[in-house]
């Protein structure tokens, strides 16, 4: 049996309902463990003090903000090429989750930035890119909401997602060019490579383990939310189709 079988709504619903309970438990437990571990059982950073601990919220949500958009892009491509309704609905379901993650990343970034840089907001390239990503999410969601016919909405949002992705990347480069900023580089994965060396720019092992737990459980949480929301979208779509048929028969 191939992966595409799950593109059948019924198959998707029965399968996702089987895996969702376990995913809910694992992802929520993982987040609780990771966050408690990170907040209370890691030492304060010698330079940043306890403020650094917001990293356990900031980094996973930032990661998922970008991955959610990537997932929407892939789902949009699948819809355009293969016309599987589940794929379009999954993209629709992922967008509000992605925008929430982006918002969390922005807010936690501001809260972290205040003690670190002495300002809530700086027009730093990374922050700015996230703000632009946030705007892209808003436009994408607004387009879904504005169009009555679900297939038309799926087509148009897919095209927007494709074009938007190109422009999001362009914006990232443009913003980098526009203002070289304060933000530290992406230090997490370099840390994984150079484990154990607690130099100031890298996240050391002792911080990294709970961070990894947080990132994995955020990703799982995202997946289970999208599965759940896709199920809801499928049922709503189904109800709509039934009503349209009733009108047509009447």
């Amino acid at each position: 049996m191939s992966l595409w079988d799950y593109a059948n709504p019924k198959k998707f619903l029965t399968t996702s309902e089987k895996v969702m309970p376990a995913l809910w438990v694992v992802s929520i437990a993982g987040m609780v463990i990771g966050l408690v571990w990170g907040f209370f059982f890691t030492p304060d950073d010698f330079r940043q003090g306890s403020t650094v601990k917001i990293i356990y919220l900031h980094v996973p949500s930032a990661l998922m903000a970008i991955n959610a958009w990537l997932m929407m892009l892939v789902a949009s491509l699948i819809w355009i090429v293969r016309r599987h309704h589940v794929s379009a609905l999954a993209a629709r379901a992922a967008a509000p989750v992605g925008v929430t993650m982006t918002l969390i990343a922005l807010v936690t970034g501001a809260i972290w930035g205040q003690p670190m840089w002495g300002t809530w907001w700086a027009w730093d390239p990374r922050l700015t890119s996230f703000l632009i990503l946030f705007l892209f999410y808003l436009g994408y969601i607004a387009l879904w909401e504005a169009i009555e016919d679900p297939d038309t909405a799926a087509d148009l949002t897919s095209v927007l997602c494709l074009v938007g992705s190109v422009f999001a990347i362009l914006s990232r480069y443009a913003v980098n060019f526009w203002n070289q900023g304060l933000h530290q580089g992406s230090s997490v994965f370099r840390a994984a490579a150079v484990a154990g060396t607690d130099t100031e720019e890298k996240v050391s092992n002792i911080f990294f383990a709970p961070l990894l737990v947080c990132m994995i459980s955020f990703a799982l949480f995202f997946i289970v939310l999208v599965l759940y929301r896709t199920g809801t979208e499928i049922r709503a779509r189904r109800a709509r189709a039934l009503m349209a048929r009733e009108r047509a028969q009447a």
Binding site: D151, R237, R238, A241, A248
Partner: protein, 205 residues
């Protein structure tokens, strides 16, 4: 010149099938008149044949780049004059002479008037005259006689007859008897029967 052939066509409106199993052919010199109650899907069928929307099933062959479609809206710019409107459409479709079209619908006296100053019936005449300047062999009409007076309906019927005599084809959705000798296709029997929903199918139809 070959005709237009429709085979086993099924069309969708708002994601729901409205008509299915439609087959007919249109040979040069022929006209087909579509009949059926409001909401049966005449406009949807015409739009599908015009290639503006994809069919659910079946094929339309011979329509590609050969049809001219007169919809409910006339595509007339109120700030342009009658001549300018026609000249524009003529040049988009390859530069036919607009004089015969103006003559066929008796628009000579109105030629320099801005289209915005025309009455509804005069606008309709302009919209129909547009079909003549396209130079396309297959004409699709959606309720062409709305707001036309009896005389203008006669001019329209004459224009279609001339077109057919020259080897053209016409497909009309209308309730008025134009005196054209064409086959009448009643769409009522083709109303889509939705099969019972017990399977949660892929297409949500």
């Amino acid at each position: 010149m070959t005709g237009l052939s429709i085979s086993d066509l099924a069309v969708l409106r708002g994601g729901v099938p409205v008509l299915e199993g439609i087959s007919f052919t249109l040979e040069p010199g022929q006209a087909v008149i579509l009949r059926g109650p409001n909401g049966i899907g005449k406009t949807t069928l015409l739009r599908t044949i015009a290639g503006l929307q994809p069919p659910l099933a079946g094929t339309v062959s011979g329509a590609e780049d050969r049809i001219a479609y007169a919809a409910h809206a006339d595509g007339i710019k109120p700030t342009l004059s009658v001549t300018e409107n026609l000249t524009f459409w003529a040049s988009v479709f390859g530069g036919q002479d607009i004089a015969p079209a103006i003559a066929a619908f008796r628009l000579e006296a109105l030629a320099q008037r801005p289209a915005g100053a025309l009455s509804a019936g005069q606008k309709r005449r302009l919209g129909l005259a547009r079909m003549l300047v396209t130079g396309r062999p297959i004409w699709l009409f959606d309720e062409p006689t709305v707001s036309l007076d009896r005389e203008a309906v006669g001019w329209f019927a004459d224009a279609v007859r001339t077109h057919l005599a020259g080897g053209g084809m016409a497909l009309l959705a209308t309730h008025i008897d134009l005196g054209l000798d064409g086959q009448v296709l009643d769409l009522a029997p083709f109303k889509a029967v939705l099969d019972h929903l017990d399977d949660f199918d892929e297409a949500f139809l």
